[in-house]
């Protein structure tokens, strides 16, 4: 069975209905939608459920701020970064992640955007410049 445009449109509208006007996820509505889709027969249900889950994750990620750093960030710093980002976009959730491969600095991810101020990216940029020379 193909993922026709009609099916994808249905999934999009189901996903939109799981968020309120502030962009916050309505948990029980999302849960009910998943249960209803799971009850659908055969391939139809599997495709709709899979697409719904993908789109829902994408929409949640759009308003989730992920802060990657080498060492744990102080709460004040996390709050300040969240407030700064909230000025230009919706931020419903902030997560932190310890990532030693950054070597230093900070990497912020929201949705599919990354703001990379890590040491490893600066080193690689420097390497590219020197290679071109």
């Amino acid at each position: 069975m193909k993922k026709t445009k009609r099916i994808l449109k249905i999934v999009d509208s189901l996903v939109q209905q799981c968020f309120d006007s502030y962009g916050q996820l309505i948990d029980d509505r999302a849960e009910r939608t998943v249960q209803s889709l799971a009850k659908l027969p055969g391939v139809y249900g599997i495709i709709l459920l899979s697409e719904f889950s993908k789109r829902l994750k994408f929409e949640i990620a759009k308003t989730t701020l992920l802060l990657e750093s080498v060492l744990p960030l102080p709460e004040q710093a996390v709050l300040q970064i969240t407030q700064n980002f909230a000025k230009t976009r919706k931020v419903n959730q902030t997560d932190t992640l310890i990532n030693p491969s950054l070597l230093g600095g900070l990497r912020v991810r929201i949705g599919d955007h990354i703001y990379d101020d890590s040491l490893v990216s600066k080193i690689n940029e420097l390497r590219k410049e020197l290679e071109d020379e």
Binding site: L8, K54, R55, F58, S101, L103, R109, G111, D112, H113, I114, Y115, D116, D117, V120, S121, K122, I123, N124, E125, L126, R127, E129, L130, E133
Partner: protein, 507 residues
């Protein structure tokens, strides 16, 4: 050593390392040189993508790709490089750059791939600049009429199907009919014109042979070879012609003349079809995507002659198309025929009959025509075309030669000698003045008394004697580019004397 360290220090100080903003996605499907990526909501069409994460050691596992399909929640990309390194779950980032390649004088004499990376083992090429691969062709205002000839050194072409600088002339024919040889002869004959040979889907051995021939004839110094062989991924074969014309545009912008050969666009269309089908684009006639015409039209439109306000440079394109069983009405051949300013049609029958170049003069055409010929060549070509046209009409009666009237017989005999003189061995371009001299001799009947089988010998000796004993006559033709009364008088005197002596030697 201190200088190097100082230079590195200066580079580091001059560098501005700001926060990098990138769009990121994740590979959901990968295989056969294409990848489907989720995310990348801000990717541009033809934007370069970096696959794989950076590591602190610097030996990044990064492979580059090109964003082609922009869908609502995903991006379809072709992988430029080793596609086996791309796997599901890999991170992909945008670079903010559309596809561009390095350009510059450093590329002359080099063999490079579709991204400008050297393939000849002679070290990295120093680039003068970076140009985008996709670029709009010059507008109407920037262009100038094609009026300067591009001498290929092949008598049949320079006399009958003349090519001008800035023209697109298609070379079309079945396999093994001499298409590449014509293009190569054209390159070998150039002195101040920059040449670019783009090999698309060719055998590696053939490309190596071609490069060796260019080196042997001293033509490699002013030639760039862009190679995407049959073993290259379809993405590299797709990009090769655009890389070639981008390299040419650098020289055109400096006011220079460029000759570019695309060998061949049939394989280019095949590679594009393969890529489009893997990207799940809708297929049309013969399974080609709907924009296969645009694939070639936007490429060939970039060949142009610019006016003085825009540098006065030019790019002349010689695209090559391989037909199957002589079918010029197939999809891709008809597309390219309608784009170009004429075609040179090569036939297998003529090739195996020994007529090489195997050009069918009847259906080959140059839409620029006499505008791209010198006055000297125009004067001999007019008569030549007429004689050949009459010969073609009478060719069917040639077998009844003994039953025909003298005028018809004479026409047939003249046509046979013309056909013999127009034959030419490969990699032996003939300068303009020698072409004019020998064609003048044959169209004025000086070979009528020579046996057909001796016509080539006559031609060889005629030109040899001219070069040795009447060099100033050749120089006059070359300098004046016209046949004035004095030159005609000298040619007549020389030709009479030579023909008598030749007749005497050959009984």
């Amino acid at each position: 050593m201190n200088d190097i360290l100082e230079k590195i220090q200066q580079s580091i100080n001059a560098l501005e390392l700001n926060v990098v903003k990138q769009n990121v996605g994740v590979v959901t499907e990968a295989g056969d040189g294409v990848a489907k990526i989720e995310g990348l909501s801000e990717a541009q069409a033809l934007e370069l993508l970096d696959f794989g994460s950076l590591t602190a050691k610097g030996d990044s596992e990064q492979v580059q790709g090109l964003a082609l399909n922009l869908e609502q929640y995903s991006v379809g990309a072709v992988i430029l490089g080793d596609f086996t390194k791309v796997s599901q779950g890999m991170e992909v980032r945008t670079t903010g750059k559309v596809l561009e390649i390095p350009v510059g004088e450093g590329f002359l004499g080099r063999v490079v791939d579709s991204l400008g990376n050297p393939l000849d083992g002679k070290g990295k090429v120093k680039a003068q600049d970076y140009y985008p691969m996709e670029k709009a062709a010059a507008g109407v205002i920037a262009r100038k009429k094609v009026s300067v000839p591009l001498q290929t050194g092949i008598k049949a072409i320079d006399a009958l199907i003349p090519i001008g600088r800035g023209q697109r002339e298609l070379i079309i024919g079945d396999r093994n009919t001499g298409k590449t040889t014509i293009a190569l002869d054209a390159i070998i004959n150039q002195k101040e014109v920059i040449c670019i040979y783009v090999a698309i889907g060719q055998r590696g051995a053939k490309i190596a042979q071609l490069v060796a021939k260019l080196e042997e004839t001293g033509s490699l110094n002013h030639t760039i070879v862009v190679a995407a062989s049959a073993s290259s991924p379809a993405s590299m074969q797709y990009l090769a012609p655009y890389a070639g014309v981008t390299l040419g545009e650098y020289f055109m912008a400096q006011g220079k003349d460029v000759l570019i050969v695309y060998d061949d666009l049939s394989k280019h269309a095949s590679a594009y079809r393969q890529m489009s089908l893997l990207l799940r684009r809708p297929s049309g006639r013969e399974a080609y995507p709907g924009d296969v015409f645009y694939l070639h039209s936007r490429l060939l439109e970039r060949a142009a002659r610019l006016n003085e306000d825009f540098g006065g440079g030019s790019i002349t394109a010689l695209p090559i198309i391989e037909t199957q069983a002589g079918d010029v009405s197939a999809y891709i051949p008809t597309n390219v025929i309608s784009i170009t300013d004429g075609q040179i049609y090569l036939e297998s029958d003529l090739f195996y009959a020994g007529v090489r170049p195997a050009m069918n003069v009847g259906i080959s055409v140059s839409r620029v025509g006499g505008d791209a010929q010198t006055k000297a060549m125009k004067k001999v070509a007019g008569r030549l075309k007429l004689d050949l046209a009459q010969f073609r009409e009478l060719a069917a009666f040639a077998q009844f030669a003994s039953d025909l009237d003298p005028a018809t017989k004479a026409q047939i005999e003249r046509g046979r000698r013309l056909t013999e003189v127009l034959k030419q061995p490969p990699y032996s371009p003939v300068p303009l003045e020698e072409q004019v001299a020998i064609l003048w001799a044959v169209t004025n009947g000086f070979l009528d008394g020579v046996k057909v089988e001796d016509a080539k010998v006559y031609e060889t000796e005629y030109l040899k004697t001219l070069r040795l004993k009447n060099k100033d006559l050749l120089e006059s033709i070359a300098n004046k580019q016209d046949l004035d009364d004095k030159i005609i008088e000298d040619l007549t005197k020389f030709s009479k004397k030579f023909t008598e002596e030749f007749g005497g030697i050959n009984g």
